[in-house]
């Protein structure tokens, strides 16, 4: 029967002089030494399962997934009430402006635009349309790429797993044959004292 404190030695968090005292005890106690060796063998076995690489890297903050929506930007930063007050004041100002415009008796005629101004409006609308199209294309491309990568990773993981199982099965069979032969050889040998 080993002491329950043996596990405390495993992870190097025991302070002196408790550590030295326990170490001295374990060194001189058969049951505790076996327990300590079993625990070390256990953690060593656990260490054989290595970390894996993430299939896809985590998206960075600069990626779109981290972009805040407009209401998050308005509410964020801890100044919720200040921002809410600002929004309310803006709404009031807009309401007053609309009321002022609609209450005018004289209705102004349609504005006369110069050729340069017309061109500017056209350029702006074209630019906006292009930006929307590019964004849509990027989004579709990202989605297709993600689907393709996920499918590839799934297939690869499946193949690896099958391969490991095949290797493990082959090794186990081979090892059993060797072990049986070894045991048979040992049994044939005369034991000490005979």
């Amino acid at each position: 029967m080993s002491c329950p404190e043996v596990k405390e030695l495993l992870f190097g968090e025991l302070k002196e002089p408790e550590r030295s005292a326990l170490m001295a005890h374990v060194s001189g106690c058969e049951a505790c030494t076996i327990e300590y060796e079993r625990l070390q063998a256990t953690t060593a076995a656990l260490g054989l399962v290595a970390d894996q690489e993430p299939p896809v890297r985590i998206r960075f903050v600069s990626d779109r997934v981290f972009e805040q929506r407009w209401w998050q930007r308005v509410l964020g930063g801890g100044a919720i009430w200040a921002n809410a007050g600002l929004a309310l004041a803006t709404c009031l100002a807009v309401a007053v402006l609309i009321w002022f415009q609609t209450s005018r008796t004289a209705t102004p005629g349609p504005p006369v635009l110069s050729a340069a101004e017309v061109q500017k409006i056209i350029d702006a609308r074209v630019g906006q349309a292009v930006a929307v199209a590019v964004a849509e294309n990027d989004r579709r491309h990202d989605s297709e790429m993600k689907t393709m990568l996920a499918s590839y990773e799934r297939d690869r993981a499946k193949q690896q797993q099958q391969l490991i199982q095949q290797i493990a099965a082959a090794w186990q069979l081979d090892d059993q044959i060797k072990t049986r032969a070894l045991y048979a050889a040992i049994e044939k040998q005369p034991s000490v004292g005979q």
Binding site: R38, L39, A41, I58, V61, D175
Partner: protein, 200 residues
């Protein structure tokens, strides 16, 4: 480890001031560890990947609320723990932990690749809480105090879970008769020295 801690703290401070690049460095530095922690808890690669992304998103959104930048690691894993358990609660509950010492026979003559498979099988037989304690301690190298912060439990509870898990794992992975046999094969009368890992 100390230098690494200082660097992380510095990056956290810079990210809290709005430096996006600083947070990006933290992401690239911690994504593998967080992914593997989640993979060992959730046991599904796709779930681990999705939850890892969510963890870093939440970390970014709440980074300003992290009062002690030196505790970034345990804070990040606390988020990961919460997200993982949130997903697990939606999933089917795990079967009860069962103890089967007979499983110890399986590891006696195994090669490393087989041992890794046996380890995975043994880990799968632990309860969620015990498995997480092993992952945080053995695979992630957290101190007991940090584990308590991640799990939101007292150190005594954390130790209790870890040690119960180790008791089960050692019966499967390092059965007593196997260790005794190997000791018997070693030079007669020699004793193991835990400090050096050798015999005296």
């Amino acid at each position: 480890m100390i230098f690494r801690e200082v660097e992380d703290r510095d990056l956290v401070l810079r990210a809290q001031k709005g430096e996006v690049d600083a947070f990006n460095v933290l992401v690239s530095r911690w994504e593998r560890r967080v992914f593997n922690y989640l993979l060992r808890i959730l046991r599904e690669r796709e779930d681990a990947q999705d939850v890892a992304q969510e963890v870093f998103l939440k970390a970014f959104q709440s980074l300003r609320r992290l009062e002690s930048p030196a505790k970034f690691a345990s804070w990040l894993f606390r988020i990961a723990h919460n997200e993982a358990y949130s997903l697990l609660r939606k999933a089917k509950p795990e079967s009860e932990f069962t103890f089967d010492p007979a499983g110890g026979d399986t590891l006696r003559r195994l090669y490393p690749a087989e041992t890794a498979l046996a380890v995975e099988a043994a880990m799968a037989r632990l309860s969620r809480e015990q498995r997480e304690a092993v992952v945080l301690k053995v695979y992630q190298g957290f101190k007991f105090e940090e584990m308590a912060e991640v799990l939101g439990e007292p150190v005594s509870t954390v130790k209790s879970r870890l040690y119960a898990a180790l008791d089960f794992l050692k019966d499967v992975l390092a059965p007593v008769e196997e260790v005794s046999r190997r000791r018997g094969l070693a030079a007669g009368g020699m004793k193991h020295d835990p400090e050096t890992g050798g015999t005296v």
